[in-house]
């Protein structure tokens, strides 16, 4: 990878949601993201996968500043965003765009598509007129949509079209990084393939970096350069895609892979791959967050927090394969 600063970086980032529980007198916090470090390199497609409740969306929102960081910090092109002056802050906001899972609720039902698309231009002080028109047409062409739907309302578009309008709206800000929070969750396979191809093309043509949040490993396998696996606010594994799909290290990643592969094996017999429920982020866990559902848990997994381990990687000496698990610690290997 390039020696320049990553486009966006989180260092020990924590995100908390205050819970307003009338039954208890002491206010409680739910820690959605726990001291998570992650850097997004220029031009890559990084995918973060995890179950619901793993903190993926909270991470995405914190990275664009929609949620405050409760701890740690976010660096945009090597500078902490908390120290940016208002000009640099605006360019962070413009260059890092977020698209949401539910494109229907991301578009105002009372505005025509044209009005939705004019808004990012207004923020860039481009008045509606000839230039705005050209830019909107270009953005629509980028996502394979025609100008005929500019006068329509969101409810008159299909799910796939709405998601592409959301992407066009993000493109109008001329972003360097697009954070896409489960953009294809509600789409059928054909629309999904179209959206994935679009991301691959935008990366190739405009060098746009993508942070893709998803829950389906089969989908991210199609395009991701690196894969991160989140569980209860922690990044359990982060690896180059090839290395991840050949040799996933964390027992949780292995279980996720097994679950997506097993879906295809027709069978009438077997039960679920994962025993039990995802533990609530409210219940304090000691040791490794995954130990209760882990089939390879060691004795000390329940009381000792694992540390980040870097695995020696076969072949290319590029990105490291990191894993948060006792099985790979020096002490265990000996």
């Amino acid at each position: 990878m390039s020696p320049t600063a990553p486009i966006l970086e989180a260092r020990e980032l924590s995100v908390r949601h205050a819970l307003n529980n009338s039954n208890s007198h002491s206010p409680r916090d739910l820690e959605a993201v726990h001291k998570l470090s992650l850097s997004v390199q220029d031009g890559e497609i990084l995918a973060i996968v995890g179950e619901s409740g793993s903190g993926k969306s909270s991470l995405a929102r914190a990275l664009v500043g929609l949620l405050p960081a409760a701890g740690g910090s976010i660096y945009y092109r090597g500078k902490a965003v908390s120290t940016l002056d208002s000009n640099a802050r605006n360019s962070w906001r413009r260059e890092v765009q977020l698209i949401f899972q539910d494109a229907h609720s991301a578009l105002s039902p009372r505005r025509r598509i044209q009005q939705c698309l004019e808004e990012p231009l207004t923020l860039q002080a481009i008045p509606s007129g000839h230039e705005a028109r050209l830019r909107i047409e270009a953005a629509l062409a980028d996502v394979n949509l025609g100008t005929d739907l500019l006068q329509r309302y969101p409810h008159q578009l299909s799910g796939g079209q709405k998601q592409r309008v959301a992407l066009a709206r993000a493109l109008l800000s001329q972003p360097a990084l697009i954070i896409a929070d489960e953009p294809m969750a509600a789409l059928d396979v054909s629309e999904q393939a179209r959206l994935l191809n679009l991301m691959i093309r935008l990366r190739a043509e405009k060098n746009i970096t993508f942070l893709l949040i998803a829950h389906d490993l089969a989908v991210v396998q199609q395009l991701a350069d690196r894969i991160g696996v989140m569980y209860l606010g922690r990044l359990l594994e982060l690896a180059p895609a090839q290395s991840f799909f050949q040799a996933a290290a964390h027992p949780y990643s292995q279980a996720l892979l097994a679950a997506s592969q097993r879906s295809w094996s027709c069978s009438t017999e077997n039960g679920p791959v994962f025993p039990g429920d995802t533990p609530s982020a409210l219940t304090p866990t000691t040791g490794c967050v995954f130990h209760r559902r882990c089939d390879q848990a060691l004795k000390h997994c329940s009381n000792k927090v694992p540390e980040q381990q870097f695995l020696a990687q076969a072949g290319s000496g590029g990105e490291p394969h990191q894993v948060l698990c006792h099985l790979y610690s020096e002490a265990h290997k000996r």
């Binding site: 969750a185 829950h215 199609q222 679950a259 097993r262 609530s280």
Partner: protein
Amino acid sequence: MIMQAAQNIRDLQPTVLSVRQLRLSLSINGQACELIKGIDLDLHAGEIVGLVGESGCGKSLTANALLGLLPSTSARWQAERFVLNGEHELAASDENHWSRLRGHQLAMIFQDPQAALDPVFTIGQQMLRVVQRHLAVDRRGARSIASASLAECGLNDGDRILASYPHQLSGGMRQRVMVAMALSCKPAVLIADEATSALDISSRDQVLSLLQQAAKRYGTAILLISHDLAAVARICHRTLVMYAGRIIESGPTERLLSQPRHPYTAALLQATPRIGLPRPQPIEAIPGKLHALHLRLTGCAFAERCSSATDLCRRQLPALKPDEHAHFQACHHPLEAVRS
């Protein structure tokens, strides 16, 4: 193995739902448009049948028609035969009759449990209402049926769940509550409309296992409507592929997914990402888009997107024909079947 099971179920178990030539028209801008164009469906006790297709092909309309849920003001639907568990002529019955069947003989699970559960009532209030409506039990009896049903769905902490409001549960738990509610009256037929599409992989896994268990234990026949081919591959004995309001291919799941005969089914499989397969660039998307359901076509509806379409395809509608493996397909130029 599953093919064997599929054959056994169809031979040994009675048919619980039998529908012939289901047709449905909606009035759009004052014009009647036929959206479901004659569907035949047989569900046997304990059988799980998948119904797949792109969004907009009519899957959910079929589900709503089977549940009698379409508004009589704008929808007109008819069937030559509509028999549920020995009760005939359901297509003509009134809302009163339907509401006695729904939730009892005929249960459903929808895609979004958040929207299907009422946010202002506890899970207990909602579940008990279903049980007391259909079964002759008092409150206490209903409560124990509800907890037992929750426990079967892996929600052992019945009292706490019953006292919870929907927002206090996670998405996966809410969907399992929906399954428990649907199964509480031991329905003959369960229609699951995209029941696992909004769930992540571990919750999806659990819900699919629950459906499998219900089919086995109570002989509930399940229609699993989904665009997720992996889910269908995992639990369905038989699969129907729908395109533009018609069934265009059907057969034992394993056979249909490994040796699709209809080009549309093959394209659908190509567009579905699978781990372990090499990464295609670009990812195969089905070219073009589903034509609007209300347009009248003389030929095959897939012809305009199909690479092997000929004049015959545009002129004449292909009929659904079986081969010797109970594998039906409606295509003038089917893909070669592999001889085994």
